[in-house]
């Protein structure tokens, strides 16, 4: 049983997760937090526990209340925040939340009593810290922009948290063909490096030869012909002798 004091403490706490492990730890910790409690915000904490909103957060979320919300941390690395946990039984369609393809959503069976329906995780890339944190952020890994993709799959009645490294998520090109071409290159030993804040160049593919003479392919964010662009990328990869 959760005491009133504990639930209040939980409510006013904002959780930031910076890695799979942190996220798993948070979810694990909340799992045993107690029975469903209704918060003033109307968001239900469930058996799984919401990772969410203190009332204070709503002021930050006014423009994005139905959207996922992200922030960057003091040291300008990407952090994640689970923004909204929907009520049990609430369908995603009913909430009219637009889900970008790269966003992974944790789902649990809405029909199982008291379970959480969705948690939405998102990150936003921006160079400025968005908010002051209520408590020190978790220590961030040295790798920049580690993003977390969170997915839940259901197998034999057991929910398996399938966690994915966010570095992979950061590599998600908006176009499917190019995304596949980048994967194709990576499977053949190429490296993908995300470009800095550039208008048109999304990133670069570098062949296994780590020299200036090696292959370099610059990948555009919005090429006029994405399929052709992807074909060229694949062709460069096939051509490479290194």
């Amino acid at each position: 049983m959760t005491s009133r004091a504990t639930s209040r403490a939980t409510r006013s706490r904002t959780v930031y997760v910076n890695s799979d492990r942190d996220l798993a730890a948070e979810l694990g910790a909340r799992k045993t937090a107690g029975p469903a409690t209704r918060f003033n915000s109307g968001i239900r904490r469930t058996t799984c526990g919401t990772l969410l909103p203190a009332n204070a957060d709503h002021s930050l979320d006014t423009t994005t209340s139905n959207r996922a919300y992200g922030l960057r941390t003091e040291n300008h690395q990407t952090a994640f925040r689970i923004v909204r946990v929907l009520k049990p039984g609430c369908s995603l369609r009913a909430t009219r939340i637009r889900i970008p393809s790269w966003l992974r959503i944790a789902t649990q069976d809405a029909r199982s009593p008291g379970s959480m329906t969705f948690a939405i995780v998102r990150y936003r890339q921006s160079s400025q810290p968005l908010i002051e944190t209520e408590r020190p952020l978790l220590r961030l890994p040295p790798v920049p922009a580690v993003a977390v993709g969170l997915g839940v799959t259901r197998s034999a009645g057991v929910y398996n948290w399938r966690l994915k490294r966010a570095a992979l998520m950061a590599k998600q090109h908006p176009n499917k063909h190019i995304r596949e071409a980048i994967q194709y290159a990576e499977q053949r030993g190429w490296r993908f490096e995300k470009a800095g804040p550039r208008a048109h160049v999304y990133g670069s593919l570098l062949c296994p030869l780590r020299e200036r003479e090696g292959h370099v392919v610059r990948v555009f964010s919005t090429p006029r012909n994405p399929q052709g662009h992807a074909q060229y990328i694949r062709r460069e990869v096939d051509k490479c002798q290194h």
Binding site: H200, V201, V216
Partner: protein
């Protein structure tokens, strides 16, 4: 309009930097894939044009706009096969 596919090699450019790629895009070569290897920079084009000549000419003009110099243009086998025979 047909899409013509060819590769354009740049004179005096041994490495395709991000800046150069940006400049190419900004100059209208958003249909190209800039790359470099073995000390030679080049870009593969998928240019829509009424003819191959126009395709190459417009691409070359865009490339010059980006401050680069065209050394040569290479056509793919399949592209050559699709062309009308030369009249002599």
């Amino acid at each position: 309009m047909k899409t013509y596919r060819f590769t354009m090699y740049f004179r005096g450019l041994d490495y395709m930097s991000e800046e150069t790629a940006e400049a190419l895009y900004a100059a209208g070569c958003d249909d190209c894939t800039p790359a470099s290897s073995e000390g030679q920079a080049y870009a593969g084009f998928d240019r829509e044009a009424t003819s191959l000549e126009t395709a190459i000419a417009t691409a070359a003009a865009d490339v010059r706009k980006a401050g680069l110099d065209v050394a040569s243009v290479m056509l793919d086998d399949d592209q050559v096969a699709g062309l009308e025979p030369l009249r002599v």
